[in-house]
């Protein structure tokens, strides 16, 4: 079913919002979405929470932070638990973005669990990646920046109502000043819940990046590739690996394992070569 959906997708701008726990991602998404809905956008939100690795259970707490700004706005919001899937990105979120895209939403926010690999994973899905930072992160910020600074498209310093936020702002500005020639010039904006007009500049910046992606024909590209990769991996497992494993004779003491491996391996690669020789486009 998903493969059919991909025919209809690639119009929406998927915006990944990532950053350390408690920095204000949900609050920000709630406020920004509500403004964008007023501007005539069709907005959907996927918010991913961490599952407990022990019980599999989770408290899906993001919704509660957005609820107020979303009420009566006709914005679709769905909470997902990451269920320990690759990094923090719930495996179903790739399918969900495809469905939402096909359903005609033009802007899809994805909030990720603010932790390590999860933050990197969102970038496999998003057309635009926004890294939210703020005051008082101290050394934590260095750890976060290590992996993600390179790949983020836009930066936000949230909680600008707090005095020390200017240091955080300055820090990012200094880093961005060292950006080499990039096709898209990266920028940082300050936001605060105390002054909702600050969200307007973020909206403008996200739109700017969205246009850049559209004009360069790259909107939806990463999602398409990732969806294809997962589809192929599943197919390979179901059609090739699993059946081959089943064909290994149960009583294989008589046989030499290495001979078996060689036979199966040869069968596999011969047929694979046939597939790979075919031209795709």
């Amino acid at each position: 079913m998903l493969s059919k959906l991909y025919n209809h997708t690639g119009k929406a701008q998927v915006i990944g919002i990532t950053g350390p726990p408690g920095i204000g991602k949900s609050t920000l998404i709630g406020n920004v979405s509500s403004k964008m809905a007023d501007m005539g956008h069709r907005v959907a939100i996927l918010a991913i929470d961490a599952s407990s690795p022990f019980t599999g259970g989770s408290l899906l707490g993001n919704r509660i932070r957005m609820q107020e700004s979303l009420s009566g706005k006709n914005i679709y919001m769905r909470s997902l638990a990451n269920r320990g899937a690759r990094g923090g990105l719930s495996e179903s979120s790739i399918g969900s973005t495809a469905i939402l895209d096909a359903a005609g939403f033009d802007t899809i926010f994805v909030e990720t669990v603010g932790a390590g690999q999860a933050d990197l994973d969102v970038m496999d899905l998003a057309d635009t990646t926004v890294l939210v930072l703020g005051p008082g992160l101290g050394d934590q910020v260095q750890a976060i920046k290590a992996g993600i600074m390179e790949i983020a498209d836009l930066f936000v310093i949230n909680k600008m109502d707090r005095a020390d936020s200017y240091f955080a702002m300055k820090d990012i500005e200094d880093t961005l000043a060292m950006d080499d020639a990039r096709p898209f010039k990266r920028e940082v904006v300050g936001t605060t819940i105390k002054d909702p007009t600050t969200y307007q500049s973020l909206i403008a910046l996200m739109a700017k990046h969205g246009n850049f992606m559209r004009e360069s024909g790259r909107i939806g590209e990463k999602r398409f590739k990732m969806g294809l990769r997962w589809m192929l991996e599943d197919e390979l497992r179901a059609r090739v690996i699993d059946p081959l494993m089943k064909r290994i004779p149960p009583n294989s003491e008589k046989k030499n394992y290495y001979d078996l491996m060689a036979t199966v391996g040869q069968l596999f690669s011969e047929n694979l070569n046939k597939v790979l020789e075919k031209e795709i486009v």
């Binding site: 019980t55 599999g56 259970g57």
Partner: protein
């Protein structure tokens, strides 16, 4: 304690439950105790926030595609507020989301709540394991309907 995760129906997709105290009832603490207990039993738990309207409860339940909505009230307004939620679900043709109730509900009201499809209706002091077992059973019914 029943582990929702271990029942095969919920192996890949745990029970998703929405906790709501609709209407005019400002007590919050009990909900958080329940939320944590459900989470520890392996469920994905959503909280609808303070004082959602019945419409908001149903909208959230549908958008989030939950298996169970747990309604609770301590102020005696259950017969009107719970009924409103059940009616809205019926009007919108939703039969794959189970409704359970809780709070201070007099025994004589329970049969009519049951007739609306709102089961459980446990009072304060009910062992958490009893509540979790009941929710799991209702979630199974709902999940089977979603899969049909």
């Amino acid at each position: 304690m029943v582990d929702g995760k271990n029942r095969s129906l919920f192996k890949d997709k745990p029970i998703k439950i929405l906790l709501a105290k609709p209407g005019i009832d400002g007590h919050d603490r009990g909900v958080f105790v329940l939320a944590k207990a459900f989470r520890d039993a392996g469920m994905e738990v959503l909280y609808a926030g303070l004082l959602p309207t019945p419409e908001e409860v149903v909208d959230t339940a549908v958008n989030e595609d939950v298996d169970v909505v747990a309604l609770s009230l301590l102020n005696g307004a259950h017969m009107t507020v719970f009924k409103k939620v059940a009616d809205l679900m019926k009007q919108r043709g939703i039969d794959d989301i189970a409704l359970v109730g809780g709070g201070t509900i007099p025994d004589e009201d329970k049969p009519s709540l049951e007739a609306m499809g709102i089961s459980g209706n446990y009072g304060p002091g009910t062992p958490l394991s009893v509540i979790i077992e009941h929710v799991t059973r209702r979630a199974e019914e709902a999940r089977l309907k979603k899969l049909r």
